[in-house]
């Protein structure tokens, strides 16, 4: 089996995880910028983080034969500080020149505040200005439905963003239909407790047209599983899905979305 991990926070993971993912059939990893578990005090912290994402992590992944790509932003959990956000946004264009950067992400909302909304609008404008794709983080738990709707309204209000170049991640049963109906891609995140389990994800896959859906582990420093995508594939196999249908979901779909960036290379075409 082959698969793409389109959303993994590998800076938080050990090299053993790279090894396990490679053994499980992972062919490429994409890493959006995220919250480190604490608020960074200055833009210098983000400069170092962006260097890690664009220079260090690709080398670490390459030791296991894995191409590594990244997305850049200041995440919504640190967006309350508007001055810090402005400083970080000013850094991003320099890093967009790196050959493995695919776009702006994971941007979005956390607690659905006015400041988070302003920084989201600034990120969207930045993506449009630099013709970048967008990867969206939707809020957690009780804040998800409201935040998902606010984010989609914000993307549409921009007027230039093409929905097919945006993936709205962390969808669940109460948000996936609205996201797909509005023309965006939808990401289902597989977590042991929050977001979606592999079993629920396959239920969702069976209830929608899955042509614009991908699965990801969003593995990070919290309770998460870097092998959750192949585990969801195993659940599909148990239920009788064909090998072609599984491959289309866990490999073909992410390749199709990510190939909208000229930086992304289909690993199968490189073989």
């Amino acid at each position: 089996m082959r698969y793409i991990e389109p959303h993994g926070h590998m800076v938080s993971r050990t090299t053993d995880d790279y090894q396990a993912m490679a053994l499980a059939g992972c062919a490429a990893i994409c890493e959006p910028a995220f919250w480190a578990g604490f608020d960074r005090k200055s833009a210098d912290g983000f400069y170092d983080y962006f260097c890690q994402l664009t220079q260090i992590e690709p080398k670490r992944a390459a030791k296991y034969g894995l191409p590594h790509y990244s997305w850049l932003c200041i995440n919504p959990k640190e967006s309350e500080d508007m001055a810090l956000a402005a400083d970080v946004l000013a850094l991003i264009p320099e890093f967009l020149k790196a050959p493995t950067v695919l776009g702006i992400g994971e941007i979005g909302l956390n607690k659905n505040t006015r400041n988070e909304m302003k920084v989201l609008e600034q990120h969207i404008a930045l993506a449009v200005r630099h013709d970048q794709m967008i990867l969206v983080h939707t809020p957690h738990l009780e804040d998800k439905r409201k935040g998902t709707r606010l984010i989609m309204d914000c993307l549409k209000a921009n007027g230039v963003v093409k929905p097919e170049r945006v993936i709205i991640d962390h969808v669940e049963e109460h948000t996936i239909h609205e996201v797909l109906d509005q023309g965006f891609w939808a990401g289902i995140t597989l977590y042991p407790e929050s977001k979606s389990t592999p079993v629920r994800a396959v239920d969702m896959i069976e209830s929608v047209s899955a042509q614009r859906v991908w699965l990801n582990s969003a593995c990070d420093w919290g309770h998460s599983d870097p092998l959750s995508v192949p585990k969801a594939a195993q659940e599909m196999r148990r239920r009788g899905h064909s090998a072609a249908a599984i491959d289309r979901l866990v490999y073909g779909n992410p390749v199709k979305f990510l190939s909208q960036s000229p930086r992304f290379q289909d690993p199968a075409a490189q073989a």
Partner: protein, 100 residues
């Protein structure tokens, strides 16, 4: 019992096949939930909004139509539509605190 409505993306399967695959998983999760409620009974103090939300969701499990997960998630969701002025926490609790 409602008429089976297989989704277009799902291979055809019987309820017996679904039970063979997932019954034990659902069984232990239901027992874990029962044990959690018992544990609450043995503990001191009142119930916060999370527990009230969990109890409010239980009847939804017994509804006959498909879509129970979405209905529970919608029940627990913040129903407001405007951005808030400022957050007093970064975290979410799992159930909208205003749920009655």
């Amino acid at each position: 019992m409602s008429t089976p409505q297989p989704h277009p993306g799902a291979p055809a399967r019987t309820r017996e096949q679904v039970a063979d695959l997932h019954f034990m998983d659902a069984r232990y999760k239901l027992l874990d939930l029962a044990a959690f409620l018992d544990r609450l009974d043995r503990a001191a103090g009142g119930e916060d909004h999370r527990i009230r939300g969990l109890r409010a969701a239980l009847p939804l499990l017994l509804e006959k139509d498909e879509g129970r997960v979405a209905r529970i998630l919608n029940l627990w969701s913040d129903p407001s539509v405007e951005p808030i002025a400022k957050a007093d926490t970064k975290a979410a609790s799992g159930v909208w605190p205003g749920l009655k």
